[in-house]
């Protein structure tokens, strides 16, 4: 027994053990948990409906109500409860954050890994295409795409995925290209392993830390891009609440009712910050070359 205990103590700390020592990472995880709970339990957290235009939600002059006892964060231009819209808006942000980023990660991994592993003409074509995508201003391209397809929740997610896979592809390409040159891959091939086995059993496991880090940081980028597109009116369309389009709808009124910009803005910053904090801590914890450099 005593021996077993000593052994566990001598083991290098797991990723979770190292991660939980970082206060900022824990703070980020708490923020993500909070947003996630808000999104899931939205119907139980608020007595109102997100699209309910309430008669008593506007002042006698027809202006939005300031934050107060009845409406905790105030109401918007149409007399809808702002807190309710922000809670339901969290669903939009998280769905797009996870779906768009998931698709971008799959495209990026496929392009980067196959280009790096097979190289040759295939790799050349893929990486030149990646260079081409790098030259496009991501936001302008996303605006063009969103203008071509009528924006719905899923279209916006796909538009973001289309412009966001590039970074992942470049990073994974470089890592795969150098991995493929290592002896253990050559040894595996000599033993008769096929490409599929090498890719899935040897290359991908080595890339997992990088994929996790870029996947986490990517959610933050995605949340920001969705908010920006919705703010410009080419993202998620009202009445579906999204943090970006709440600001878009109420922008004209922001001098008189700054809370209509402040609270949704705070929500966007909080969620993007949370994923950045966790992603950055994961990078330090997972990347052996970064270890010890705080």
């Amino acid at each position: 027994m005593a021996l077993a205990e000593t052994n566990t103590a001598l083991l290098p700390p797991t990723v979770w053990q190292r991660l939980k020592k970082r206060k900022l990472a824990l703070f980020g995880m708490a923020l993500i948990f909070l947003t996630l709970s808000g999104a899931i339990f939205a119907p139980y957290l608020t007595p109102y409906e997100p699209n309910d235009q309430m008669f008593d939600g506007l002042t006698m002059q027809g202006a939005p109500m300031a934050p107060g006892a009845q409406f905790a964060l105030g109401t918007d231009l149409l007399g809808r409860d702002l807190l309710t819209r922000i809670l339901y808006g969290a669903r939009t942000s998280l769905i797009i954050g996870l779906v768009a980023n998931g698709v971008a990660l799959i495209i990026g991994t496929f392009v980067g890994v196959t280009a790096g592993y097979f190289g040759g003409i295939w790799g050349g074509i893929l990486m030149r295409f990646t260079d081409l995508m790098m030259a496009f201003p991501a936001l302008l391209l996303a605006i063009c795409l969103a203008a071509i397809f009528q924006p719905s929740l899923w279209i916006v997610a796909m538009v973001i995925a289309t412009v966001n896979w590039v970074q992942t592809a470049r990073v994974l390409y470089a890592e795969t290209a150098s991995l493929s040159q290592r002896e253990f891959i050559a040894a595996e091939r000599t033993l008769g392993a096929g490409n599929m086995r090498i890719l899935f059993r040897h290359i991908l496991p080595h890339l997992t830390p990088t994929i996790i880090v870029w996947g986490t940081l990517g959610i933050s980028t995605t949340v920001l891009l969705e908010a920006t597109l919705s703010f410009l009116g080419v993202g998620v369309q009202p009445p579906t609440p999204s943090w970006g389009n709440i600001i878009f709808e109420n922008q004209t009124y922001f001098q008189a009712a700054p809370w209509l910009v402040f609270f949704p803005g705070l929500a966007i910053v909080t969620l993007a910050l949370a994923f950045n904090l966790v992603g950055d801590a994961l990078r330090d914890v997972l990347d052996p070359t970064q270890r010890g450099r705080a």
Binding site: D131, F136, A138, L140, L141, C144, A147, I247, R293
Partner: protein, 306 residues
């Protein structure tokens, strides 16, 4: 060195050719019909057909693209459908405002980013360091339209320090520049911090201290120049971030640059303008990356030319 630059120039030209093709293909697919927009709702089918032939929009895709490319090489970006002006003229008249805004943003992000990074590196591990790095995280997590609107509210509406949007004087430039620069200053402060920490660890810093130089002198003459160079070399890459950012920042502050032009064109489906701005932005990004590559060669001669 020269061979490297020539090779990168050829690559850049090919990338731009690809960009022109993709932009053209995307807008060819656009379901909104520009002819309908020009002709108006009450136009007869003949008028619509006439306009279509006039604009060459009845020709097959390849023919339209070839004609577009031919004009492009001569510096002709086409005519705006709605404003009846040359796109190149429109962009040229708007470009100085955007360049001024970007220059302001570069100054902001460098001053903010480098100061924060140096202070954080010198106070490494303290609460000052933590606070500064937290601030830089918030900087990269804040969408520009939120930062812009809040700045407008606090500094223009409440405090009256700056005008509420518009263009003309130095005071007009301040808020948009800060808004556009904050994102970059977040990245720069983090890069500056780690660059500074790396340099402070080097042997020549210890030597400088050992031979009796003051701490101030070691920092200003030995550490800073070495730590800043790789950071400065990256300014070219910012162009990519700015090109997206100006669409948002210019629309929030009513700044009359190419970002606002693009934004208005998108709402009116004015295809030649959208294509023109996208191409000009892509050009700027390609040139920016080229400059960054060459600059980093000069900044650190240890980088080998591939």
């Amino acid at each position: 060195m020269l061979a490297f630059i020539v090779k990168r120039l050829i690559q850049s030209a090919l990338i731009l050719l690809g960009v022109s093709f993709i932009t053209f293909a995307l807008l060819y697919l656009l379901p909104a019909d520009p002819v309908r927009q020009i002709a108006g709702r009450s136009a007869t089918p003949e008028t619509v057909a006439n306009i279509r032939t006039q604009l060459g929009l009845d020709k097959p895709f390849v023919v339209q693209y070839a004609r577009y490319l031919g004009n492009l090489v001569q510096g002709d970006l086409g005519r705006s459908y709605l404003q009846k002006t040359e796109v190149s003229t429109l962009i040229a008249s708007r470009l100085p405002a955007s360049l001024l805004l970007m220059l302001g943003a570069i100054v902001c992000e460098l001053v903010l980013g480098i100061t924060m990074g140096v202070v954080a590196a010198l106070r490494r591990g303290t609460s000052t360091d933590n606070a500064l790095m937290m601030a830089s995280f918030i900087g990269v997590s804040a969408p520009q339209f939120v930062v812009g609107l809040l700045m407008l509210y606090v500094f223009a509406v409440q405090l009256h320090w700056f005008p509420i949007g518009g263009y003309g004087t130095f005071a007009h430039l301040v808020l948009p520049s800060i808004t556009l620069g904050i994102l970059g200053s977040g990245w720069y402060s983090r890069m500056m911090r780690s660059s500074m920490i790396d340099v402070l660890r080097q042997d020549f810093i210890r030597t400088a201290r050992a031979k009796g130089l003051s701490r101030m002198r070691v920092l200003s003459r030995h550490a800073l120049p070495n730590a800043i160079l790789p950071i400065i070399a990256m300014i070219g890459i910012d162009v990519g971030i700015f090109m997206g950012g100006i669409v948002v920042v210019e629309s929030v502050f009513g700044w009359p640059g190419i970002g606002q032009l693009a934004w208005q064109a998108i709402q009116r489906v004015d295809i030649p303008i959208i294509m023109g701005v996208t191409l000009v932005s892509a050009c700027a990004i390609v040139i920016g990356n080229l400059v960054a590559d060459i600059a980093s060669l000069f900044a650190d001669p240890r980088i080998k030319v591939r």
